[in-house]
């Protein structure tokens, strides 16, 4: 048993729903108790989809358990077919139905429906949402494209003069910016003159999946969802796959070169995009204040690795921590962590992430909806880079993460939460200014910025008495402070500490205390504070 306050991923059948809801003419019959229908609201409320997910739930109750839940399933499946007339169906069980072992696959087969029915085995007590999505897509592709697998030894050939065509695999319902990423990638491929054969699962029909094998290669946009299916296609149809995810200018250029090579076209028309501004923005002088900003990154593996690369190589930040909740893709994150010389955090325990953020005291958190709340509580700016997310993360406007326009969006959304350059300097210079007190958030954040306790406003008067919590400008982290033996602070040192900007003050305090403890200094004076500053100075 695992104590869980918040969960990063839903159960695996939610992943299957993300595939079914993305597709057209596919219906999912889910053996599940009443209550599991809550999942519909993820799509209709959080993503604001105008249609119900194509899912029929059996919604069995306790009284059915003594009777015939299997019959209930068959009735639901038959009625669903008659009402929705899909091209194909998927059937499976949620966590509770898995325990009663009714075998939805066998039951559905017994109905002899005139369409392909794919039975899903999604172990709810071992696996989670992304795995469920990947498994569902894989099973669908295998079943539907399987009949057209060529005999072994057949070589792929493209007719002379015929432009290359590719499939784009991965975009789902309830995906983080999938709709917008797809548009960017679509445009990139158009500029290169590469045809798009099938996009799946988003807006694909089962018939579309059946003809996946006709394309020349596959683009894996979201490996968490599409990698198993793409590997199967590679094995059976000899289709090469593009695994580079075009997030950031560097990765986008790599992506362009990679697909251009596979399609045998000139990459140049796509490489120089006049709309690409993020590189110049990062180079412009006002951006110097971004240098070395300490960033903590957490999300699904693909987005976390990509975000770390962008902030370190394209924005000049420092990655102080990186992690993921997806154990299936932990290796990529471990490799990235090595690159930045930090300890990877592989966990789906929200409390572990919170503890790490509190310990690292970064200046910016790039994370999920969960990290947004952790950051808010700790008074640290934050931007979202990955699912899980909330309704405001499905913007009405075009806001991709991929391609050159995606890189522009990343620059805007990741830099925006930070204190603007000159403002940071002024804040540093005029600590006593009545409008620049600790309680004042960056002016561009309005009232939504971090709000330290009210008494911190009178910094002069309360500086000495202010408790640690107030001095860090945030609610006290619920994490033990660690094994540090805390030295006493002389009043004037305490006062001096208050002059350090609140967003780095926690770090300064810790460093000074560590410095003092290591040297056996019992009383921290102003001298100790500056000795420590010189010692740890970055």
């Amino acid at each position: 048993m695992q104590l869980t306050l918040w969960t990063y991923e839903g159960p695996p059948h939610i992943g299957a729903m993300r595939i079914a809801t993305a597709m057209r003419d596919l219906h999912y019959v889910l053996h599940a108790p009443q209550g599991d229908t809550y999942a519909d609201l993820l799509f209709t409320m959080i993503e604001r989809r105008a249609r119900r997910p194509p899912v029929t739930y059996t919604t069995f109750q306790a009284r059915d358990l003594g009777g015939d839940t299997a019959e209930l399933f068959k009735t639901a499946a038959r009625e669903a077919y008659e009402r929705f007339q899909p091209q194909a169906m998927i059937v499976g069980a949620s966590c509770t139905a898995e325990l009663i072992q009714d075998d939805p696959g066998g039951l559905a087969a017994a109905l002899n429906l005139p369409v392909p029915v794919v039975a899903l085995e999604l172990p709810a007590y071992q696996r989670k949402e992304n795995w469920g999505a990947a498994e569902t897509l894989y099973q669908l592709v295998r079943r539907l494209a399987g009949p057209s697998v060529p005999t072994a030894g057949t070589t792929r050939e493209r007719a002379a003069g015929q432009p290359a065509r590719c499939n784009i695999l991965g975009p789902t319902a309830l995906g983080f910016r999938h709709r917008d990423d797809l548009r960017e990638v679509h445009e990139l491929l158009q500029r290169l003159g590469i045809g798009i054969h099938v996009v799946a699962p988003l807006d694909a029909t089962p018939a579309d999946l059946a003809r996946l094998g006709e394309a020349d290669f596959n683009i894996v946009l979201y490996p968490e969802v599409a990698l198993p299916a793409a590997l199967w296609l590679q094995r059976n149809f000899g289709q090469p796959l593009v695994k580079t995810v075009p997030i950031g200018v560097g990765a986008t250029k790599e992506f362009i070169r990679e697909v251009a090579a596979l399609a045998d076209v000139d990459p140049q028309p796509a490489l120089d995009d006049p709309r690409s501004r993020s590189t110049w923005y990062a180079r412009s002088v006002d951006s110097t204040y971004l240098t070395g900003k300490r960033v903590f990154v957490f999300g699904d593996a693909t987005h976390a690795v990509a975000a770390a690369r962008v902030v370190s190589q394209e924005f000049g930040f420092t990655v102080v921590g990186i992690g993921t909740y997806s154990r299936e893709h932990a290796r990529e994150v471990r490799d990235a962590a090595k690159l930045y010389g930090v300890e990877p955090l592989i966990t789906d325990d929200y409390l572990d992430v919170e503890a790490r953020v509190a310990e690292l005291q970064p200046e910016l958190v790039l994370g999920t909806q969960m990290e947004r709340h952790i950051a808010k509580r700790l008074g640290i700016p934050c931007a979202l880079i990955s699912a899980p997310m909330h309704v405001q993360d499905f913007p009405a406007r075009h806001a991709p993460q991929m391609g050159f326009e995606g890189a522009n969006v990343l620059f805007d959304t990741w830099v925006h939460p930070l204190m603007m350059g000159l403002e940071e300097h002024l804040l540093h210079m005029f600590r006593g200014d009545f409008e620049f007190h600790d309680g004042a958030a960056a002016s561009h954040l309005g009232h939504s910025g971090p709000k330290p306790p009210a008494q911190a406003a009178g910094a002069e008067a309360n500086a000495v008495a202010a408790p640690v919590a107030a001095a860090t400008g945030a609610a006290p982290p619920r994490v033990p402070a660690g094994p540090i033996v805390v030295s006493d602070w002389a009043p004037e040192a305490q006062k001096e500490l208050q002059k350090i900007p609140f967003f780095v003050r926690g770090k300064a305090r810790r460093n000074t205390e560590r410095f003092a403890a290591e040297r056996g200094v019992a009383l921290i004076t102003v001298e100790t504070l500056y000795d420590a500053k010189a010692h740890f100075g970055r």
């Binding site: 048993m1 695992q2 104590l3 869980t4 306050l5 918040w6 969960t7 991923e9 839903g10 159960p11 059948h13 939610i14 108790p33 009443q34 209550g35 599991d36 229908t37 809550y38 999942a39 519909d40 609201l41 993820l42 209709t44 409320m45 959080i46 604001r48 989809r49 105008a50 249609r51 119900r52 029929t56 739930y57 059996t58 919604t59 069995f60 109750q61 306790a62 059915d64 358990l65 639901a76 009625e79 009402r83 949620s94 966590c95 509770t96 325990l99 009663i100 172990p123 709810a124 007590y125 071992q126 989670k128 909806q369 969960m370 709340h373 509580r377 899980p388 909330h390 609610a475 619920r478």
Partner: protein
């Protein structure tokens, strides 16, 4: 503007009483009882709710709660994993470990509810045994109780019923004459009712649940209880077992419902209707004036209820009698005929009541009916809006203070707003 107290006995000839009820079986588009945790954990301020269930349960609650509104909520899930199922780990030992970790973090907790789920019920994990053992271990600091919020046994608000029922055996005993108001109410509503009942002259009034674990009301043979919510069948039964007797009344929604509810309570203690009339006069006048404004928007408009909270019959009664709305279908997940007798008598005979659900067939009926407004769950609301229907999320009716005089117009406004909005956006 003066108002007259409504007759206590409804006209015998009217009402839909035992009229035909459409009973359906099929897909039920409803929440399970775990959802009640979202408001119960705010109501009982020193209680923690630990769901013993699957990742689905955890995902449900955080999705229903709108995800993380609170810094650290007083609910969590102990997620059962394959080791527990394979018997590699003793589930009871695991539960002890999780509870110990939890209580270590939260020294402020006085009542811990172990909440059963679909998976814990199916594998027959004995939470009552766990609750007893853990209660002994953590007494007197923490009392550990258990109830089931599983979808196989409870629909949405029935989770509150199960929770309150689990509190009843532990309520202090008393033979004093007393009134217990049963059902979680917003604090502001509870305070209003406490004031009104005191002014009417009812002594010894308690509320179940109370805001703190040490303030739960006493109960005994001279206790009368008054339901504030229509979904409390099990809690009522447990209270009867302790000797308490129910005061039959409609529910305190709208001016009429609130007045009849207070009158029934007063009558049970030998206090006349004229006292209630006197005490409530100004509040009624105020509420009726506020309702008159909403009536302009709602009069003659048709409404269709999908089943959700069991609040549907009293809501329908309020909307039809006080606001002049036309009822088409009133769906409810479960119709408790005894507790709703007074409500059913007040409903127009033309209403189509439905119990249970076959969501596809019900959607067909709803589309055919083209009502002016549809009350439905979150999964259906946007799709119906996209089809051109106007909707009201049912869950808001459970999360919002709607009972009593001062909230009557707020309740009406919840239905008027989507209609007004549609007009605004069309303009």
């Amino acid at each position: 503007m003066t108002s007259r107290v409504i007759e206590l006995q409804p006209q015998a000839a009217s009402g839909c009483g035992q009229a035909n009820v459409l009973r359906e079986r099929g897909q039920r588009e409803v929440f399970c009882g775990l959802t009640g945790i979202v408001w119960l954990h705010r109501k009982i301020q020193d209680a923690f709710f630990l769901v013993v269930g699957s990742r689905t349960c955890a995902h449900l609650i955080q999705s229903a709660a709108g995800v993380m509104i609170f810094a650290e909520p007083r609910f969590a899930t102990a997620i059962i994993d394959e080791r527990d199922l394979a018997g590699l780990a003793d589930a009871q030992d695991e539960l002890d470990r999780v509870v110990a970790r939890l209580l270590e973090r939260r020294g402020d907790i006085r009542t811990l509810f172990l909440v059963g789920s679909c998976p814990s019920e199916v594998i027959k994990l004995d939470l009552s045994r766990a609750a007893l053992r853990l209660s002994q271990r953590f007494a007197p600091q923490v009392r550990v109780l258990n109830y089931s919020g599983s979808g196989i046994e409870t629909t949405f608000t029935q989770g509150e019923d199960a929770c309150l029922a689990s509190l009843v055996p532990g309520l202090p005993a008393s033979n004093e004459t007393s009134l217990v108001v049963v059902g979680a109410l917003a604090d502001v509503v509870e305070d209003q009712f406490a004031r009104l009942l005191a002014q009417v002259g009812v002594r010894n009034v308690g509320f179940l649940p109370a805001r703190h674990s040490d303030a739960m009301p006493a109960v005994g043979a001279n206790t009368r209880y008054l339901l504030a919510q229509p979904f409390l069948a099990d809690t009522a039964r447990m209270l009867e077992n302790r000797g308490a007797r129910r005061i039959a009344a409609p529910f305190p929604l709208g001016v009429e419902g609130t007045t009849r509810w207070l009158q029934a309570a007063a009558a049970a203690f030998g206090i006349g209707a004229e006292v209630v009339e006197q005490v409530t006069a100004s509040a009624r006048t105020r509420a009726e004036a506020a309702l008159a404004r909403q009536r302009q928007a709602l009069q003659g408009k048709s409404i269709f209820f999908f089943p959700d909270s069991q609040l549907e019959p009293p809501l329908a009664r309020f909307l039809s009698r006080e606001l002049g709305m036309r009822l088409t279908e009133v769906g409810t997940p479960y119709l408790h005929r005894e507790h709703l007798a007074e409500e059913l008598a007040l409903l127009p005979a033309s209403v189509r009541l439905s119990e249970g659900q076959h969501v596809e067939k019900q959607l067909d009926r709803c589309r055919a009916e083209r009502p002016d407004i549809v009350v439905c769950g979150l999964g259906l609301a946007n799709p119906l809006e996209a089809e051109g229907l106007t909707t009201k999320w049912a869950i808001e009716l459970v999360f919002t203070p709607i009972q009593g005089y001062e909230q009557a117009a707020d309740l009406a406004e919840l239905f008027a707003r989507p209609l007004r909005r549609r007009e605004l956006l069309a303009a």
